[in-house]
Amino acid sequence: MRVLTRLFGTILIAFCMIMPAYALDVRATVLRVDYPSLLPISRYDLVPDDLGFAGAVLGDEDNQTTGSFLGMTFETEFVSTAPEALDAQLDSILAQGTDLLIVMADADDLLKIADRAGVDVMVINATARDTHLRDDMCRANTLHVAPSQSMMADAVVQFAMWKRWRRLFLIHGSNPADRALGDAYRRAATKFGAEIVEEREFEDTGGSRRTDTGHVLVQRQIPVFTQDAADHDVVLAADASDVFGLYLPFHLWTPRPVMGSGGLRPVTFHAAHEAWGATQFQRRFEALSGRYVQEADYQVWLALRVIGEAVIRTNSAAPDVLMNYILSEDFELAAFKGRKVNFRPWNGQLRQPILLTDSKLTVSVSPQDGYLHQRSTLDTLGLDQPESACSAFDQ
């Protein structure tokens, strides 16, 4: 009986469409470049086949639900490519007239894509964190939903300062990306008045990441590597290559907290985040994808929501109209982080809170209390306007 009533009710109340103000078809493409990669140190960090795309499916669905009330349709195409096939794929995407392009690629490829796409295409960088993309290498057609490494480093060091952990022991890897991350931590330390009292390089000597009983060796190597350091309050790990950061907690010579690439990690999102209604995001994502969300999924979801929000408010799908609106003060978006996110008009970077997680819970969220800014406290994270060499957005 109850089932019948339900069924009847549902049929009776078939979706009511309001007369649309404008009929608008919005098409976006998510382009993912799949680089050859090593296995991660932790199995929890294995890369799923639908990384990013699963976030796009949810973003598309969210936009579509809203669009259905306004007579708009949203459609998203997914393209993954090997690096060597990128040029051909890109040509094919652009030939189809795609002008809303979300990119998951490294910095060099992102620049290549942005330049080939040209001014008539709006590019959204969903994953590349290299600070120089927002600095001297910025592009006028490119927005960055991914935070920069310097935003992440600032988020970590603000927390250290809030805890009064001023003396930092910085351990960075030996690859260029690790050194760049180390630079970001050095700048953050200077910016917020912390002191790097000791600095060491953990050399990436290669070798297999999967060995049986590997933890036995780690337990012996890490204490030796970290002994005799100057007195410090906390260890910062700058390990963009995923070589040693996760090995540091509990294995240090001197018992200290670890932050950065191990211990307390800065992330845009994680699967246990529940505050500010995020539980609903998690449930919707898991129902659609059958797995936990990863940062890249959230970032691609956010990129599509940026597009969706701009389309809904402007009644347009034209890249120049959207770009103008997105970079204006009128643009705002809720992102399950307790406050609105919007863009820095001088370099196209999304302002956003950064979550600090112990990989189980949200431990804290930066910016921390007391870090003030004349424009937005979110601008205490990352390159600020006076520091940025980006001039592509000057008009």
Binding site: T5, G9, I13, C16, T65, T66, S376, T377
Partner: protein
């Protein structure tokens, strides 16, 4: 002109002493983290008891006859119904998954429930305890309101950022109004001439004329400003308007204040300092008092409505969320 609120003990006591002639009503507060309902006496403002409310009790309301307390037990995917005298659970109502907020038809026969996870508004018959209808709405439905003439039910969807006008005769959406980010709560003025929608992340209250010639129309937006408080923490959530349609009270979440708005001029005339993370609110039947739930200080604040002043805070369970007051007998 903002007046400073001096929360002086002597002032509270004298104010409290003057107003104690009001009749006593039970105040029910849902404690989201504590999984309990706290009952407070509105005469003495002392807690009477605390009883289990199901898992993650949030939205809460009382049947027009005062007999039943409805509690959205969000993590139980049901609405629990309690006897307001014995505090015993009498039955549950099917609500659809993750019910958060609902509004009650003036007859008491129907509940309109927002189901956050399923993008649905569920209509529940309180007598037959069955689901009458499910209405697809925007992403993450939350705020629910009913027009004084009961013709429209309003639902706000937090990620779609709309107020949906659902016709109560055929359960079809007749109008949609775009508002600012994360609309949380909707309330009609008693004369039905204004609809207010609070946008938590947008930091504004949208003012809608529901009776425009060509359908509902957004007429104004109310913003907030408190010196010394970062603008991002001014997050409007719960709202209540006085029956004479003069004063709109808006809970500002992590700003720990309730804004007092002249409902005619739409100007914010005062900010009343209350407990931490102020969330939902309810009037006592004569509207002498407004009670606010303060999620991060585990208490409720009692506001003297005429004086627009906080007079008392009462400790309740863990993370108070919703509040409902018994009608006069």
């Amino acid at each position: 002109m903002n007046r400073h609120v001096n929360f002086l003990a002597c002032l509270c006591l004298s104010t409290f002493g003057l107003s104690s002639a009001a009749s006593a009503n039970k105040v029910f507060v849902s404690n989201e983290k504590g999984n309990t309902i706290t009952v407070i006496d509105s005469d003495t403002w002392e807690p009477i008891t605390e009883f289990p409310g199901g898992n993650r009790p949030r939205g809460i309301g009382i049947s027009p006859d005062g007999k039943y307390l409805y509690v959205c037990a969000s993590d139980d995917d049901t609405i629990r119904v309690f006897d307001t005298e014995t505090y015993q659970e009498v039955w549950t109502l099917p609500s659809g998954p993750d019910p958060e907020l609902f509004t009650i038809h003036p007859s008491g026969e129907l509940l309109y429930v927002a189901n956050e996870d399923d993008n649905l508004v569920t209509v529940v018959d309180t007598q037959s305890r069955t689901i009458v209808a499910e209405i697809p709405v925007g992403v993450e439905p939350e705020g629910m309101a009913i027009s004084p003439d009961a013709r429209f039910v309003i639902n706000t969807s937090e990620t779609t950022n709309m107020a949906h006008f659902i016709d109560t005769s055929d359960y079809k959406i007749k109008h949609n109004i775009l508002v600012d980010q994360r609309p949380r709560y909707a309330v009609y003025s008693d004369d039905g001439n204004k609809l207010f929608v609070s946008s938590e992340i947008g930091g504004t209250v949208s003012v809608i004329d529901p009776n425009g010639a060509d359908g509902p129309v957004l007429t104004d937006k109310i913003g907030f400003e408190v010196s010394g408080v970062q603008p991002e923490w001014l997050q409007p959530v719960g709202m209540k308007i006085t029956a004479d349609n003069k004063w709109l009270f808006v809970a500002l979440g992590p700003a720990n204040r309730v804004a007092v708005i002249d409902a005619e001029t739409l100007e914010v005339v005062d900010y009343i300092l209350v407990g931490q993370r102020v969330w939902q609110m309810a009037f006592t039947p004569g509207q002498e008092f407004l009670i606010t739930t303060n999620g991060n200080s585990n208490d409720v604040t009692v506001i003297d409505v005429a004086k627009q002043r906080a007079i008392k805070s009462v400790q309740v369970g863990q993370q108070p969320w919703g509040v409902a007051v018994m009608p006069d007998e």
